[in-house]
Symmetry: none
Subunit: 174 residues, 4 copies
């Protein structure tokens, strides 16, 4: 991957995450990245192709966070690691990746397969192992909470949400 191609991806990621895919023009990306506009299309064919390349790259990075949880065989540890996931994963480096991810959810036309399904299944398994009466529903509820926390972190920063880490760990892990 050439330097300029990488600069396009990085610039576009940040701009897309901040302003939304539609609101960012390819000319702005090019200008910001210090590249000619045509180069974007040489490398990615489309504006959409550029987005795809970004998302694919992001999936690799987020996958790294998911893998250890999916492999964990201790139910309580699964729940614990899932609770602390949003607090660990959304740091400076990957902030834009996550923000883009959540923004795209509201972009009807960009219907990528649900990224979080494997985590939900694992969580259901954990609740089941622990003898919860309604493991599937417990899992979905906790996921909604963590989703909400992630959204708040992305919008208002980490600090305001940190209190929930201890609270949820206490509630679910005791």
């Amino acid at each position: 991957m050439t330097d300029k191609k990488e600069r396009i991806i990085n610039t576009a990621l940040i701009l897309f995450a901040n302003d939304g895919y539609n609101a960012v023009s390819t000319s702005k990306i090019a200008k910001e990245a210090g590249v000619s506009e045509g180069l974007i299309f040489k490398h990615f064919s489309n504006k959409k192709g550029l987005l795809d390349a970004i998302v694919k790259g992001a999936e690799c990075r987020t996958g790294e966070f998911f893998a250890p949880i999916l492999e964990e065989m201790e139910p309580l540890e699964v729940i614990k690691q899932l609770i602390i996931l949003p607090f660990m994963a959304i740091h400076e480096d990957s902030y834009s990746y996550w923000k883009l991810q959540f923004k795209l959810k509201w972009q009807e036309e960009y219907n990528k397969p649900n990224n979080f399904k494997p985590l939900l299944d694992k969580l259901t398994w954990a609740f089941n192992e622990l003898g919860y009466k309604e493991p599937a529903m417990e899992a979905e509820i906790l996921m909604k909470v963590l989703d909400g926390i992630a959204i708040s972190i992305l919008r208002e920063g980490l600090e305001g949400q940190l209190k929930f880490k201890a609270f949820l760990l206490e509630k679910y892990i005791k």
Copy 2:
């Protein structure tokens, strides 16, 4: 309010909710509403002004749903009514209002003050009345769950989420 002005608002609401504010052109709104494009600007001066008018109208309607909860003085009843709120509020008539509301949350440029703050405060009060140890945090958590449910209803329909109503009522009301 003239007939045509109202038609513009109603048409734009539906289009904005479905396709997003940026993706809908004023020309499409005019065509769909059966009015001239110029009329939109006579009435609302801006495309943004049209959005503001819609949001203001929406706030009135959603406020009607919030009022009885805010006036309720029985803590358990507050929680109960809040839990069933997303299942009651998001029906055909107001579906577009809510969808637009949630979509706008992700448009950075449209940063209206948090609509749900009064509800959150009331919920905190209720949990406090009921002797919960961390009423503020309990309230925020429940709000995040309900937020997540509302989002799912808007994206996938009511049916898949109905199960959570009973589950949450059982959990919080016993």
Copy 3:
């Protein structure tokens, strides 16, 4: 039809006829016509739509030349009028219309139905009435000659071809 709309059509006709449809940009048409580029698309939706409007207009004008021939019931008169047709029809006013017509023939993608078929049929009828052995072939041959003359007129002017009028009339009408 507004003044500007008409100016767009007239300007585009001349440019298309001279330089070819693909070689003329909408921005050039707008500039030459003294109009904003956007207006072209307001009136004709497409660049292609503009071409269609021109061709439709041209068909009316060329139809006026064809009608009297198609109604003529005297075989010799049919042939005579057809021979003099290219010399009469391609004058200053309609020069661009014909040039465009012939140019579009080589534009594979623009496959309009054969305009000259009715004339060919009438000519075949005339040759048949006059007792020619192979009226269909005689008609096609004469049409090819007249086609060739029209092409030469469009490319090199009327003068060089005028001699053929007398020659052909002598040959076919005696």
Copy 4:
């Protein structure tokens, strides 16, 4: 001539003939020919230079068809061979050469000297030898017919035009 250079010429010829010079991009030629786009400019400096190379090559090939006619000293044989020329020359191998040739006639900017002038002169000579009253005009008329036949062959295939071969031979050779 290197293999790749030849591949560029052959590919471009076919593409130009089918889609027209302007409609074919250098990138498409490169892709289709399996070479890098830069190589086209190394060899021909311009897109126009590539076209020139093709046309020059084509002139050699078409010249091979003209030579025997120009050398023929029997008037009737000249006419006969000229009549059958379009039916002989436009076969699979050289189809694209002729199609391109005729297409370029309508590109104003590509005004190459009339290729067919020597043939016309020879034909005039032949008609003169045979005692025709207006040999020059007879020659031009027959050339226009053959031109029209060539065009029809290129656009609709050989079959529909074959009938004219016998008809014209009968008419001119008896």
